[in-house]
């Protein structure tokens, strides 16, 4: 076989094993050994991913795509789906960062979730999530990917509503689940369409026969898949679940709702790039929706008070960037930003978690301030994350964002301009956040602390398990840009590595090198301008209503509009369906049949008199009739 490439099977298998062990013995392991087991399983997955990566490197550049079949999953007539892994540069890149960032967040969670009564259950879900996500990225067919897709959705639901005895988390989990169903329905339809027209669901076969599809079919398939991606990756109009998902534990927000699961949509788009390259209408749609989401989410993030809500809208906005890159045909740039974003956004979320932890569940930034003296490591790492997401060179975010903006400019200067405005807003709201949390007056002293447990307690730095994750992610956020530096083709390591996957589908950027440098300088200048604006506007100030208009605080009233739509026409339509169609027609038919039988029975029972002579008469009449019939026939 392919020697060490086979190690890939351990990448999803180890988290699955961890999940099973925790399922059987989680309670007995308890706090913190259940956490260490889960962390070990995910770290083992990371090690297996590294081995696979090294094994792929030993093969020639054009021979780095392997299929590893484990068993036949569904042998059903013309549909034959194997449980097999597709191991190529794209899936291995995804597996590396999912397991790597995942392992760090597992480690962090050991400290963060300490003392929670459901500690083992949390890690059980986390390992199940890791397995599902790896099935998603490593699956060799749409159906295996869909298995992982639903798995991560389920884990997301379970983990958002992890504290189900509180009021809001279960509602938020339900909202996430229901919103995602809309997207999943698109994914399903796309699968039906692919199978209906090509008779297979395996990526390699689908792409090999993509030429047989008419342009309309390809457009329909890609648009439906994009609908799935819109749901999972929180794009307009299905992004409303992600801010609510912040009700879950903060490491979950970092792992699922920032670094990994929400990027599944981007991964899916990158995976089907051979189809997208045949559907220019779809890519334009993707680019427009991506940039619109990026811009609108960034405006909302400017006016949020909850430390996690800012990061949630920021995540939506950054995902918009990735879709902009996909729409511009720059899949390598999208994956690059996905990886760097995983580093710095996980870092920011974990930093926020550390702050929340240190302040005893305070999430309102207006009640923070001056924390850098109390939590020096958290503050330092958070600042690194801030500079990275703001796009200040030479941090990781600058390089990936610049790559996207360059490709957007190549597609359309309008997209580039909107992306640049988003970059400015990003730098601004992150500076606002950093300033409100770590600088300024120590407002947590004067604020009347509503929770009794934290009253009067001073903020404290996080335990070492949390700090290890923070520092590692901070280092990655500084150096992550080195994955793909734009100066010479040789330094574009990631793009070169992914080239066998995207190869012919990548758009060649056709701007001159002078303009390229100009654009990079421009985006750096915009980032610095945003940082300066943010710091200047919030220096010594906490309330600036002019900068936080109600419309932005309420997120453009989108939630209210959706609620009104669902509560008004939606409920009416449901009522019509329930009363008229279901109760009237469908139930009516069933009940009518029952009434008919009952009525016939009531009438027929009179025949049964109980008198022997009646029965005898009946028998006699019957015999006479039969005899008459026989005579008539014979005669």
């Amino acid at each position: 076989m392919h020697s060490l490439v086979d190690a890939a099977v351990f990448v999803p298998a180890l988290p699955l094993g961890g999940f099973l062990v925790l399922l059987l013995a989680g309670r007995r392991l308890g706090d913190p050994w259940a956490g260490w087991l889960a962390t070990g399983a995910t770290t083992g997955g990371f090690a297996a991913a590294v081995v696979t990566y090294a094994a792929l490197l030993s093969h020639g550049e054009d021979h780095r795509s392997f299929t590893q079949t484990l068993f036949t999953w569904l042998p059903a007539g013309g549909l034959r789906v194997n449980a097999s892994l597709l191991i190529d540069p794209l899936s291995v890149t995804m597996a590396l960062f999912v397991t790597g960032v995942g392992a760090l967040i597992h480690l962090y969670s050991i400290g963060y979730m300490r003392g929670d009564p459901d500690f083992p259950k949390y890690f059980l879900y986390l390992n199940l999530f890791a397995f599902s996500m790896l099935a998603l990225v490593l699956g060799d067919s749409l159906l295996v990917t869909f298995l992982g897709w639903e798995g991560v959705g389920t884990c997301s639901y379970l983990l958002i509503s992890f504290w189900f005895e509180r009021e809001r988390p279960p509602a938020a989990g339900k909202k996430a689940f229901v919103t995602n169903r809309v997207g999943d329905f698109g994914f399903l339809l796309a699968m039906f369409l692919v199978f209906g027209s090509l008779g297979t669901l395996r990526y390699t076969e689908v792409f090999a026969h993509a030429g047989q599809l008419s342009r309309g079919t390809v457009t329909a398939i890609t648009l439906l898949l994009f609908l799935g991606a819109v749901g999972k990756s929180a794009q307009i109009p299905l992004y409303i679940w992600l801010p609510d998902a912040m009700e879950g534990p903060t490491p979950v927000s970092a792992l699922i709702h920032a670094a990994t699961m929400v990027t599944a949509g981007v991964y899916l788009m990158a995976r089907v790039s051979p189809l997208l390259s045949r559907a220019p209408d779809t890519t334009t749609t993707i680019a427009v929706i991506g940039v619109a989401t990026a811009l609108i989410a960034a405006t909302i993030a400017c006016a949020q008070d909850d430390i996690k809500k800012v990061l949630a809208y920021s995540t939506i906005s950054q995902l918009g960037y990735m879709f902009l890159a996909v729409g511009a045909g720059a899949y390598a740039a999208a994956v690059f930003h996905m990886v760097t974003h995983a580093f710095f956004k996980a870092l920011l979320f974990l930093g926020a978690g550390s702050v929340i932890h240190g302040l005893h569940d305070e999430q309102d930034m207006k009640r923070m301030g001056g924390l850098r003296r109390w939590m020096p490591v958290t503050a330092a790492t958070f600042i690194v994350g801030w500079l990275a997401i703001a796009g200040v060179p030479p941090f990781a975010g600058f390089w990936s964002k610049d790559a996207i903006l360059l490709n957007a400019y190549d597609k359309s200067p309008v997209l580039w301009a909107l992306g640049l405005v988003t970059a400015l807003l990003t730098a601004y709201y992150m500076s606002r956040q950093v300033h409100l949390v770590f600088f300024g007056r120590e407002r947590w002293r004067e604020a009347d602390r509503h929770d009794a447990g934290g009253a009067g307690a001073e903020p404290h730095e996080a335990p070492w398990t949390m700090l290890v994750a923070l520092v590692t992610l901070a280092l990655l956020s500084v150096a992550g840009g080195a994955l793909n530096l734009p100066f010479t083709p040789k330094l574009k390591v990631l793009e070169h590595w992914l080239h066998p996957v995207f190869g012919p589908t990548l758009r060649e950027v056709s701007v001159g090198s002078g303009l390229e440098v100009g654009l990079a300088l421009g985006s750096a200048a915009v980032a610095l301008l945003g940082v300066a604006l943010g710091l200047a506007a919030w220096r010594g100030r906490v309330e600036r209503p002019a900068l936080e208009p109600e419309v932005l605080r309420r997120a453009w009233y989108v939630d209210e509009a959706v609620s009104a739509l669902v509560a008004g026409p939606g409920t009416e339509a449901a009522e019509v369906l329930a009363d008229k169609v279901d109760a009237g027609t469908i139930d009516g038919a069933v009940n009518g049949l029952a009434a008919l039988v009952r009525g016939a029975g009531t009438r027929l029972r009179r025949v049964q008199t109980g008198y022997v002579r009646n029965y005898a008469l009946g028998v006699a009449c019957g015999a006479v009739l039969l005899l008459a019939y026989a005579v008539v026939r014979a005669g």
Partner: protein
């Protein structure tokens, strides 16, 4: 003179009719039971007649089956009738309508 098959068949039909009419018009279960026996034996007579006429042993064998069935029927039927007499004063069929639907 020989008695032709027609006579036997006629006798059989008459006996059967008496039995059938008796079953329908009489009220006493014992008499009704006797009527059933009459009908069975009318059928037996027809069987034997045809067996002789057609020189076929099948008809006579059928009679034995009928006799066995009739014997079994007597066992069950008389058992029921005795049970009725033990529970009730008489055995009028029209008083028995417990199985009314």
């Amino acid at each position: 003179m020989t008695v032709s098959a027609g006579w036997y068949l006629t006798l059989s039909a008459v006996l059967f009719t008496i039995g059938a009419v008796g079953l329908l018009v009489r009220r006493n279960v014992l008499v009704m039971f006797m009527c059933v026996e009459l009908m069975l034996n009318a059928a037996n007579l027809a069987f034997v007649t045809f067996a002789r006429q057609l020189d076929d042993i099948g008809g006579q064998s059928a009679v034995f089956f009928v006799l066995v069935v009739a014997a079994a029927e007597v066992v069950v039927g008389l058992g029921i009738i005795v049970a009725i007499f033990r529970r009730r004063a008489g055995a009028t069929a029209d008083d028995l309508n417990l199985l009314k639907g």
